[in-house]
């Protein structure tokens, strides 16, 4: 390899690195812009155009990074859910391992309620995206990987204290309440403390004292 081609390769590597860094920066800027818009507007008003403009990128960049508006919405929700999953599996107690199952379950529902309130419009957009992608019957909420993780976590904690009940069914019932009116509209309005307290009352009763 002569001096010139090695220099040119070095330039290419540098350019590729810069492009990858630009791509990562754009990706984060787009996600943050979408999150911010969804906090303040109903999901149907958050178009790719608006997100692109708020992120300071072209509309084509959004499509290039996320494939579609649906892809962007799914990615946002997945990122938030991944953070919660990490906190549950390896974070500090009471959300993470180390606390008793009742306190972990109380902490989990408080975290889910807070996430839902922070991303209330995002959850609606996410569900809309799932439904748009496939019909609701083909792609039920219970088949969503985020939901599957939440459901498994809640079921396991319930079963630990209450081997006498159908923990899987009760987990579905409790998680389902997040999507029901008037709870869902409270979450869309950013209110979650009251919901977390109601979950705590139900969970502490079901799980008994520790």
């Amino acid at each position: 390899m002569d001096h010139w081609s090695s220099l040119s390769m070095g330039k290419n590597v540098l350019m590729e690195r810069r492009e990858r860094a630009d791509a990562a920066r754009n990706r984060q800027a787009i996600l943050r812009a979408a999150e911010e818009l969804l906090r303040r507007h109903p999901p149907e008003q958050v178009s790719v155009e608006r997100v692109a403009s708020a992120a300071g990128v072209g509309k084509g960049t959004v499509f290039h990074r996320f494939g579609s508006r649906t892809g962007l919405m799914l990615e946002l929700m997945t990122e938030r859910a991944r953070e919660l999953e990490q906190a549950v599996t390896e974070g500090p107690p009471p959300l993470g391992p180390g606390a008793g199952p009742a306190e972990r379950l109380v902490a989990f529902f408080a975290a889910v309620a807070a996430l839902a309130a922070r991303n209330g419009n995002l959850m609606a957009a996410h569900e809309h995206a799932m439904v748009t992608r496939k019909s609701a019957a083909e792609q039920p909420r219970e088949a969503n990987p985020i939901y599957l993780f939440w459901h498994r976590h809640v079921s396991e904690l319930i079963a630990e204290r209450r081997p006498d009940v159908d923990a899987g069914q009760i987990a579905h019932m409790l998680l389902g309440t997040l999507h029901m009116e008037p709870v869902a509209s409270q979450l869309r309005a950013g209110q979650y403390e009251g919901l977390a307290a109601s979950f705590a009352a139900i969970v502490r009763g079901l799980m008994g004292e520790e």
Copy 2:
């Protein structure tokens, strides 16, 4: 009044009575036929034509008695709910007055689950009818008089034992689970024993021992 006109009036009264009796019979026959069809078919397949044919009346009679298919569906659901309301307000314990609030609440959710399973397709048809009548946003489930009664009953029983919690919100959460998948699909399949047991576990925990 001479003999002839009094005789003719007597004939009219008899004819009117017979017509009213026929109307009541038709009404019952139509409601029973609709209920039977909804037990075996998805609501969208239960047309006024099918109901009329199963009830042995003309299509026009159904429209005359109920105004529309929507009117028929609402009337069916209302009739079932009225029976439950009566059992709750003046029937024997534990559903009616006389038992403690925890046992009454367990009995109520068991009755609601059984009603929902018996009329699973009817509930779906009812909701569809409500949505068709007005948009879902204009006519939310919480504004439905049946829901209002159920919610008030559940709230009052919870508040009796747990003045420290938001009984109204927990009542919304518990009642909402009936409409969530996969609970709703169990009910459509006529299964309610498991759901009643899960409600009992949640309610007994929340309400404490009596």
